[in-house]
């Protein structure tokens, strides 16, 4: 029997499992192939919804569903925390003592946030990368009566590069709606020399920042917080005082990947081939989504477009045929919605060879994002889009 083991029940792991079963159903039923997903909670979380807990009245319970219900019934699910990958014996050791062998290993283990890596983060700053933190931010915004709101980035890479811009726009809109705009300043701090990394998008959003009166600070990479002076400090040697501070926390890959020798410290990102998605030249180990070190957005969309590539390569290997490169080579495709506030949005779509050419912001793209969020459970994890 060929054993396919997938670590992680997020977008990438769940979709890969469901795409694999579509191609290998006969072999699985015949007992020739097994597909197993390992997830540490058994709950699938729709992370893009966190921002809307802080900004749009979303509820945490609507963003989580049992992983079992999203997986095809022929895919096995093991709930447990991974301790280590033992490459010598082709096995994954779980912390509960269980040991799972594999012939093909898919690492869809995502990223983790480390707010604690910035001293005083817990007491001074907010973020929106967990449901709890987003709810805490919502309460802080509700209590906000005016002052300076600073939105900045405290680590690289981070999930969803447009998110801090979206939050800045949405907060500014909210302050206007609540009659607090005259008593407030909104500051957005960009790590690079313009508002957004993609030049065409930056050119599109810069006048929107100006129109909304949001002050943009460039080359601003947060390194620390001075709690006594309520100021955020940068590695470029600058500082900016705040009344309400929203920071994108530092992110890393999973610790067990570093402990297992699969990913280098300190980042823990898997060295991944940009076309084959194989890890470190290993023919039977693949990575997708946030876990890779590819120079791409850490976003569910990236995993969404990588999953068919991993699927094609494993199916080809299991069935003993050549890889169909049309489906088995990843070309860097990413597609995501971008909120600019006031009920408007746009769309970013690009790959390794083609930069995004975002359409003029309008209500349709905002509605597109809302519809995508609402229908996610029935589409993406099940491989229907």
């Amino acid at each position: 029997m060929k054993r396919i083991l997938i670590l992680g029940g997020g977008v990438g792991g769940t979709l890969t499992a469901n795409l694999l079963i579509k191609k290998l159903r006969r072999q699985v039923k015949a007992g020739e192939v097994s597909i197993t997903v390992v997830d540490q909670t058994g709950q699938h979380t729709y992370q893009p919804g966190f921002m809307y807990i802080a900004m749009g009245g979303e509820r945490a319970e609507k963003l989580q569903r049992p992983e079992r219900g999203l997986l095809d019934s022929l895919v096995s699910l093991v709930v447990g925390e991974v301790d280590r990958v033992d490459e010598a014996t082709h096995a994954v050791q779980l912390k509960n003592g269980e040991r799972l062998s594999y012939d093909y290993l898919v690492l869809a283990t995502g990223s983790r946030i480390l707010p604690e890596a910035i001293e005083h983060f817990a007491t001074e700053a907010h973020h929106f990368y967990t449901a709890e933190a987003a709810l805490k931010l919502r309460k802080a915004l509700d209590a906000f009566k005016g002052g300076r709101i600073v939105v900045a980035i405290a680590g690289m890479p981070y999930k969803c590069p447009p998110a801090p811009l979206e939050v800045s726009f949405l907060i500014e809109s909210e302050l206007r709606d609540r009659g607090l705009r005259d008593k407030s300043e909104v500051h957005f701090c960009s790590p690079i020399g313009r508002a957004f990394t993609i030049e065409s998008v930056s050119e599109m959003v810069t006048p929107i920042f100006e129109e909304k009166g949001i002050e943009v600070h460039t080359f601003f990479n947060v390194e620390g917080i001075d709690p006594d002076r309520h100021a955020v400090l940068t590695l470029e040697g600058e500082e900016l005082p705040y009344d309400l501070l929203i920071l994108v926390p530092p992110h890393k890959g999973q610790q067990f990947l570093m402990d297992s020798g699969l990913a280098p410290a300190p980042g823990g990102w898997l060295p991944t081939d940009r076309a084959t998605l194989q890890v470190g030249g290993r023919p039977n180990v693949f990575a997708l989504g946030d876990a890779t070190d590819l120079p791409l957005s850490k976003a569910g969309s990236t995993a969404h477009f990588e999953a068919p590539v991993v699927t094609e390569r494993i199916v080809a290997a299991v069935t003993g045929r050549e890889v169909n490169h049309k489906h088995g080579d990843y070309l860097g495709k990413v597609m995501c919605f971008f909120e600019i506030g006031d009920g408007k949005g746009t769309l970013l779509q690009f790959d390794y060879e083609h930069p995004p050419r975002p359409p003029k912001p309008n209500q349709l793209w905002h509605l597109g994002k809302i519809v995508f969020n609402k229908t996610y459970w029935h589409t993406v994890p099940k491989g229907r889009v």
């Binding site: 690079i192 020399g193 080359f219 991944t272 590819l294 120079p295 791409l296 990413v334 690009f350």
Partner: protein, 83 residues
């Protein structure tokens, strides 16, 4: 990709070709944050803006620009982390 550090003291290569989001400068900032002072980092970029964007940030952040060179179909920008 991409991010290779073969031996102590070796130049760390960040292959950010084809990166539009987060982009080559963001990839360099990641590598700088993860490195120790004295580390030399070479960024490969197919974004024509990098050869101006990256030196501007390097100057602002107080690191050392070692080299900007045109390779076959990309730019190699070499930076030393100084602090």
């Amino acid at each position: 990709m991409t991010d290779m550090l073969t031996q102590p003291g070796a130049k760390r290569i960040v292959d950010a070709r084809g990166s539009f989001c987060p982009g080559p400068l963001m990839e360099l900032i990641r590598a700088i944050r993860e490195s120790e002072p004295g580390q030399v980092i070479a960024v490969y970029s197919s974004d024509t803006g990098s050869k101006t964007d990256i030196p501007k940030w390097v100057e602002k952040a107080g690191h050392r620009l070692v080299e900007v060179a045109r390779r076959d179909d990309f730019d190699e920008i070499v930076v030393e982390k100084t602090h």
